[in-house]
């Protein structure tokens, strides 16, 4: 069983992605997952990281998808909605 690995992306990797990362980590723990890796990246250097999924604001979704063709990318509307954060990461947790 491999631990899930998420890359959270925003424009500079310095603001909203840091905040989203905190909430994604909290959501993973709420789901009982304690073995995971969540890292932050800026749009320019997020390629070829091969994560379980990329996460970003819905506004950046198409941009991030075009940077990473074929990779799983999930857009988040409200960074503080616990339920939707859990729903976003759940499909990538191995059971």
């Amino acid at each position: 069983m491999s631990s899930p690995y998420f890359v959270v992306v925003c424009t500079f990797g310095a603001g909203s992605s840091l905040m989203l990362r905190l909430n994604v980590e909290a959501a993973l723990k709420e789901l009982g997952c304690n073995d995971f890796k969540v890292e932050v990246s800026d749009m320019g250097s997020c390629k070829n990281k091969n994560p379980s999924a990329y996460l970003c604001s819905t506004v950046l979704l198409s941009n991030l998808e075009s940077q990473n063709p074929g990779a799983p990318v999930v857009g988040i509307k409200d960074f503080y909605n616990k339920q939707s954060l859990q729903d976003a990461v759940k499909p990538f947790l191995s059971l």
Binding site: G13, G15, S16, L18, L22, C56, S57, T58, F79, Y80
Partner: protein, 157 residues
Amino acid sequence: MGDIHTTNKLLHMLTPETTAFAQKVSDWREAIRLAGQLLLKEQSISAEYIDECVQVAEEVGAYFVVRPGVAISHARPGENVKRVCLSTVTLDPPVCFGHPDNDPVTLLFMFGTRDNDGHIDLLRDLSKVLSNDEMVERIMKATEFKPMYDDLHQMLS
């Protein structure tokens, strides 16, 4: 007043000088410029930083509207920032930033940082506040600095 005894970064940076309530602006650009002026006045940033914040939003979009009604504006960390800083502006009426779900924005923060980690404690504290729906609501409705500061102090201490 930034409480000099607190180790909490957010409380330390919240000052009456960098906070403005119930501001009436014509659009999101003006809102960002207003938040920027508060930081420019205390010489925490250069004027270019404000232009950059507007430019990022124009080019990339309103991805920094992180939850309904709340935006966190910033630009690339670097030389245009003198020190880690934060301004807080509430908008009345609320203003659309162009986010498909989280518009309109009532609460706008602007932060600046010189590097990629000097502000992490600040964002952690800010994120704690933004996780609390009731506190977000109270800040949105605040009209005076002291009661808002005391509320946050109580929550974060």
